[in-house]
């Protein structure tokens, strides 16, 4: 019951008029970011991060996490009305969402999507409330080998769970690690990989990479599609909402299953996108109406939306309790912690109770605020999508440039942003995944430190990673993930030869 007390304390921290105002601003900005092409959750937060330098950390994180909730909600609007997934995790929502909109049931589809998102996020927040303190308490006993093994598992999960070709996942991830290594080596103080170019001494900031890869890259991709969006209009009023809510309870099993899939995929960094596809696929197989999926079934919206939001929210659990983010957006929030002078990791739950519980309480409140705002303001947000791209695109590029500059007050970073943009465009089209690249760039130094500290402790003996049950089993799980694509292929080959 300790958690309940702490949570109520959190509510008292989060429920000030100032914080509530930040929540509303955050959610509205977030939905805007989710709706506009080129501004997603991760780079939207990255751009706004420097503006929160002067705020108290708790208020800052409340606003930024609300932007995240808003962006999660916003992705569904473009998927359903315009058949354009605003975020990768809303791709599966277009399968049944857009057909519903074409049949004139856009309001019903949106209500279904928002409600499912809310349920998924709520489920994940409850899980965070009770699980995160336990994980943090457990992780307090972690030494460098244990931390390295968690990093190892994180990165291997990308290979095991990723939909992209394994070679490309490894290449993208290693590129992230290489970029992270640029600059001063934290152990020996030597300058690495700067090739005499002293401006590189600071290294590559991952916020720049996020703004370039996701922001500029996305703009270039949407430019390919031409300049106009064709969308459906939606009417949402109380009657439609109530009518839809009456129909939703019969999907409780799909919903519960999607919540569990989402939480699992969010904690292990499979991420929201595979979670939404997996959940959609399983729902299609299990549902009695499975054959009609893709023609506008509400259940086909419930499954991916619930799972995506559960995963997006659950990705904050390892970020809060271990200091290891499960998604690019969580990584940006983690970067925020460092900027506000907080040390991420298991000690956060001991030393920064107000911050942690204020954040967790704000997740409950932020999602409620979010649900109300999106249900009432859909026409407004849809109108924004009708602003011509020739106005939106330059304004977004200007905003990205400003965001890139403010990270370190460095002009060079704006050039890097442009380079990362071109890279993001090419990588995305060739299905090199961007999430492992960004996470490797964020965690590269820490992972290397953990590895080298473990080596110092064991005097160069690699067996330290299998020296006790805990670290050994995490490493074994990591290895299993690493070789999962090979194991899958071998299984398929065996089945073929048996048949």
């Amino acid at each position: 019951m300790e958690e309940i007390n702490a949570l109520f304390h959190g509510f008292s921290v989060a429920l000030t008029p100032f914080n509530l105002m930040l929540m509303v601003i955050g959610v509205v900005l977030g939905v805007l970011i989710g709706v506009l092409p080129g501004l997603g959750g991760a780079n939207g937060i990255a751009i706004l991060l420097p503006l929160t330098f002067t705020m108290p950390p708790t208020s800052a994180v409340i606003m930024l996490s609300c932007i995240y909730w808003g962006a999660l909600f916003g992705g569904a609007i473009t998927s359903i009305l315009f058949n354009i997934p605003g975020e990768p995790w809303s791709v599966a929502t277009t399968f049944d969402g857009y057909p519903m909109a074409q049949q004139g049931k856009a309001g019903e589809a949106l209500t279904t999507a928002f409600t499912s998102s809310f349920i998924g996020a709520f489920f994940a927040v409850v899980m965070i409330t009770f699980l995160a303190p336990l994980v943090a308490k457990f992780a307090l006993q972690f030494g460098p080998p244990e931390f390295f093994s968690v990093f190892f598992l994180t990165f291997c999960s990308f290979i095991g769970m990723g939909k992209e070709p394994p070679f490309k996942i490894v290449a993208a991830m290693m590129l992230g690690f290489a970029l992270a290594a640029v600059g001063i080596d934290t152990v020996t103080g030597q300058l690495r990989l700067i090739f005499g170019w002293h401006e590189l001494m600071r290294g590559f900031d991952f916020l720049i990479a996020v703004i370039g890869l996701f922001g500029i890259g996305e703009i270039l991709l949407s430019m390919e599609e031409g300049l106009s969006f064709q969308g459906r209009t939606a009417k949402i009023n109380m009657r439609i909402v109530i009518e839809t809510w009456k129909k939703l309870p019969k999907f409780w099993l799909t919903s519960l299953r999607s919540c569990i899939i989402g939480c699992w995929m969010g904690i292990t960094p499979g991420g929201a996108t595979p979670a939404s596809f997996m959940s959609y696929g399983i729902a299609k197989r299990m549902s009695p109406d499975g054959g009609k999926f893709g023609t506008g079934m509400p259940e086909g919206i419930v499954a991916p939306e619930t799972a995506a939001h559960a995963a997006g929210t659950a990705a904050l659990l390892p970020m809060l309790s271990l200091g290891i983010p499960g998604s690019p957006t969580a990584a940006v929030l983690l970067g925020g912690l460092l900027i506000w002078g907080l040390q991420p990791g298991p000690l956060l739950f001991v030393e920064q109770k107000d911050f942690v519980w204020g954040l967790i309480a704000s997740m409950y409140l932020g999602n409620i605020v979010g649900l109300i705002i999106v249900l009432t303001c859909v026409p407004l947000f849809a109108a924004i999508l009708r602003i011509p791209f020739s106005i939106v695109a330059p304004v977004i590029i200007v905003i990205c440039a400003i965001g890139a500059f403010t990270v370190n007050n460095a002009m060079l970073d704006i050039w890097f942003m442009l380079l990362f943009g071109v890279m993001g465009y090419a990588f995305k089209k060739l299905s090199y995944p961007l999430a492992p690249l960004v996470l490797a760039l964020v965690l590269g130094d820490q992972a290397e430190d953990a590895f080298r500290q473990s080596m110092l402790i064991s005097q160069g003996d690699v067996r330290v990673f299998f020296s006790n049950g805990l670290v050994g089993s995490i490493m074994a799980l990591g290895l299993l993930m690493l070789f999962w694509p090979l194991i899958g292929r071998m299984k398929a080959a065996l089945r073929k030869s048996a048949a």
């Binding site: 420097p50 503006l51 330098f53 002067t54 070709p165 070679f167 490309k168 490894v170 290449a171 290693m174 590129l175 690690f177 290489a178 290594a181 080596d185 152990v187 020996t188 030597q190 690495r192 990989l193 090739f195 500029i216 703009i219 270039l220 430019m223 390919e224 031409g226 300049l227 011509p388 020739s390 106005i391 695109a393 330059p394 304004v395 590029i397 200007v398 440039a401 400003i402 500059f405 403010t406 007050n409 002009m411 704006i414 050039w415 442009l418 943009g421 071109v422 465009y425 090419a426 990588f427 089209k429 060739l430 090199y432 290397e448 590895f451 080298r452 080596m455 110092l456 005097q459 160069g460």
Partner: protein, 174 residues
């Protein structure tokens, strides 16, 4: 803008996926080589108290090279090597470049005349050129965006933005 392929299907012309795959893989291979070169300079061996500074980057570089060679081998010997897919059609590429090139000029502009003035010019130019808006509307919107960012950053949040090598707004005193 379409060629007839042997199979009889119409394939729009442009840069092929194959060429793009090869270009990206070679780019990664070069990067891997560079990283490896510098790691060797730093020392990549395992000494008494653990790895040297170049140890981690060295093996990262090895993995970059191995995986980009893997991608290359799939392009040349993989099951789908015969497919002719288009990475980007020429028309699409033209649209993409019409964003990218002005964006690069914009960044150069920031370096010279600062974010605020460059933004006005960039937004106005983009709207007139691609959106066919009137000069008046376009410049007005550009100025509105710049004034809004100026208020937000310089005045409310006290975050100074880059004013450029030749600061044309120096008379404002910021």
């Amino acid at each position: 803008m379409a060629n007839k392929q042997d199979s009889g299907e119409v394939v729009p012309s442009g840069i092929s996926v194959r060429a793009a795959e090869i270009a990206v893989a070679l780019f990664l291979l070069t990067l891997g080589g560079l990283v490896m070169y510098d790691s060797v300079r730093l020392g990549f061996r395992w000494v008494g108290d653990g790895p040297e500074a170049g140890y981690f980057p060295f093996y990262i570089a090895v993995l970059i090279c191995v995986s980009s060679l893997g991608v290359l081998s799939q392009v040349f010997f993989g099951k789908r090597r015969g497919e002719h897919k288009v990475f980007v059609e020429w028309d699409q590429l033209r649209l993409v470049l019409s964003v990218l090139v002005p964006a690069a000029i914009f960044v150069f502009g920031i370096q010279m005349i600062g974010i605020y003035v460059a933004s006005v010019a960039y937004i106005a130019f983009f709207m007139v050129w691609l959106g066919k808006y009137s000069w008046f509307k376009s410049v007005l919107l550009g100025i509105a965006v710049s004034v809004a960012t100026f208020m937000m950053f310089e005045i409310w949040f006290k975050v100074p933005l880059f004013k450029g090598a030749f600061n044309p707004l120096s008379f404002l005193g910021y």
